[in-house]
Amino acid sequence: MAAPSSTRIEQLGYLWTDERLRGIAFQVLAVAGLALFFAFIIWNTAANLKHAGLASGYGFLLDPASFDINQRLIDYTSTSSYGRAFLVGGLNTVLVAALGIAAATFIGFVVGLMRLSTNFLVSRIATVYVELTRNVPLLLQIIFWWVVILALPRVRDSISVADVVFLNNRGIRMPQPIFEDAFQFILALFVAGCIGTFVLARWARKRHDLTGRTFPVGWSAIGLIFGLPALSTLFVGLPVDLDIPLLGRFNFEGGFNVTPELIALWLALSLYTGAFISEVVRSGILAVDKGQIEAARAVGLPPGLRTRKIILPQALRVIIPPLTNQYLNLTKNSSLAVVIGYQDIVSIGETVLNQSGQALEVISIYMAFYLTLSLLTSVLMNWYNKRTALVRER
């Protein structure tokens, strides 16, 4: 007879071979290790902060920022709070991201189609563009375009486009539209047109599903959305004035100025991401089964309908997920703005950090901001994926 203690040890050994228990033990260990790691960091941080005499917490966001921001979408003065400065920065990030996404999508689709062109020269030019922009660091491109714009002529020798838009080393001066009261009426018509189109499209689709009869939704949409407001201007006149920039003694007066930083960042981001999007578009279109196109041809669909009803819906399903990824990349990459001094959230945060010393808080705001954007995008993408999946089942 073996001693009871040794059997107990043997039994403990068997416990180790039980996969479930081993799994639990492993997870408990992982959590404990992580907790220790964080405790270590927090303990050190608390000690270091205390040693440096720094207060922690987000109370500083209410303190006056006392620095200027010249690129802003909302009211801000140097007496505004740090919190408001962050808001201005966040909006600037969203601004350049939105502009960049629009331009990059356009470039991406055009270049993607160019690369698929049967025209040798066109497809080669597109390939050279894609390879050149994809294989050079974005940061380098941002600085490059910035330097190019700063090398433009001085204000006095601005390059003028039809005497309304002026290019110089302080950016682009553009006429500013001034909306009169009657414009609200046109805006209301425009919104009504959009809603009308939406309702019409739903009705037309339903009727098409039931009876097979088609309705020219596209033409009626143009009529509703643009035609109606355009027609109304015949009666009320165009209620928009243009404030055209005029060269004053030192600078332009009137109009509004787009800063070199915004232009450089926007150009670089759109060109860089556009190249990646063109690859996404190309592979999406190539992913459509050749038989689909041949079948569409066989039932006699004209080329326009073939693209719109057969190729695009199937290509888009492949294109959208990586496309959203590129949009996210563009948004994250807009943080490189800090190098040329475009006042996005990172750049403003850096100023706040230098002034207030609240490193932990500032960086946590960065991360929360970008994570929220990422999360929002992926929620949107999942919604779209679900929608297209439904279409597939029908």
Binding site: V31, T45, N119, I363, L371
Partner: protein
């Protein structure tokens, strides 16, 4: 009779001149329709507008010698700085009498990479070991110690810094990424949750915020006695950043492995780690190589971000040159074009390699 008695074959006639040869190629590829012809003409006009002026600016009218920007006329490009500055662009402020150490490290990189990436090389067994030891050897050569003069890492700079940060980041992120990918696929819920949280959190923020963490927060997290080298801090954050992306690449590879492989391994009595190490990972990593190369290209381009935290890589030295009083105003575009060319050559070659690998892999599978 109008009909000729035809008892033998007519001689073969050549294909019409409009279908073959140069003219045929032009017709098919450039002028197949009116629209295409118009596109061709527009493209040609574009090329004529861009290329000849660029060539005459960059080469024909360019100035290649001189001590300062004053030597340059301003009509053509100013390449006069290449002579004095090329060393800095590649070695940073690394002492000139120790440049050989960087060169040897770079030379040894070739066999170290080849033995990892190419099969059936002579002496493969020894070669693999060399590849594994190479990182230590490289660190020894670059930093020094044990008989070599110690060179502090703040002397690292130029293109060499891009290589050091990029390569170290990718090499270190591979094991971390593999563990994270396995964690994400794990059946243990806590491990899975932790892995997903880490991967998604890191992928959701820009690298620049992590670099800020490296510069202003890392020191706060550690006891005051511990002081990490700045380059080391950057490498730590770059590694964490890259490992999240690496994990997703490896996950793609893991998902491509048929379930039968795992079941087979279990049937012959292999445990989890044995299954992964001997059966799943060798196949999954093989499929992942193109993705890993792509991650590396991305990371390599991102190494230029170190200028934001005050290190001087290739781009940093281009900026130093552009703002140097001797050259200011004369090399605004040249300095950046040169750096762009260096990055382009390296990244383009790597992306070609990755594409060819992908083609080869998809052929192997069919």
């Amino acid at each position: 009779m109008f009909f000729r008695d035809q008892s033998e074959m007519l001689p073969e006639r050549p294909a019409p001149i409009t279908e073959v040869g140069v003219i045929g190629w032009l017709r098919i590829n450039l002028f197949s329709s009116y629209g295409n012809a118009a596109l061709t003409l527009v493209s040609l006009a574009l090329l004529v507008l861009i290329i000849p002026p660029f060539v005459s600016w960059g080469l024909i009218d360019a100035q290649f010698s001189g001590d300062s920007g004053a030597a340059c006329s301003g009509i053509g490009a100013c390449w006069a700085w290449l002579d004095q500055r090329l060393g800095q662009f590649f070695y940073g402020f690394y002492p000139a009498d120790a440049h050989w150490r960087v060169n040897v490290t770079a030379l040894l990189l070739v066999p170290a990479l080849l033995y990892v990436l190419v099969d059936n090389l002579p002496g493969a067994k020894f070669g693999r070991w060399f590849s594994y030891v190479y990182p230590l050897l490289a660190a020894y050569l670059l930093v020094g110690g044990f008989g070599l003069e110690v060179i502090s890492t703040d002397k690292f700079g130029g293109f060499m810094l891009n290589m050091v940060v990029g390569l170290t980041g990718i090499v270190l992120s591979l094991p971390v990424g593999i563990l994270l990918a396995l964690g994400r696929q794990s059946r243990l819920p806590v491990i899975r949750l932790l892995s997903i949280t880490f991967i998604e959190a890191v992928r959701g923020v820009p690298l620049i915020t992590l670099l800020f963490v490296a510069i202003v927060l890392l020191q706060l997290f550690l006891p005051p006695e511990v002081s990490l080298d700045q380059l080391l801090r950057v490498i730590i954050m770059v590694t964490l950043f890259a490992s999240a992306y690496m994990a997703e690449v490896v996950r793609g590879g893991l998902q491509a492995i048929p379930k039968g492989q795992i079941e087979g391994a279990q049937a012959v009595g292999l445990g989890y780690w044995q299954t992964m190490r001997l059966i799943v990972l060798p196949q999954a990593l093989r499929i992942s190589i193109p993705g890993i190369v792509n991650t590396f290209i991305g990371l390599f381009k991102d190494t230029t971000l170190v200028i934001i935290i005050g290190l001087f890589d290739l781009l940093g030295h281009a900026r130093l040159l552009q703002t140097n009083p001797d050259w200011i105003g004369d090399v605004d575009h040249e300095a950046y074009l040169f750096s762009a060319a260096v990055f382009f050559v390296i990244c383009f070659l790597m992306s070609r390699y990755s594409v060819s690998l992908e083609k080869q892999l998809s052929q192997d599978r069919h």
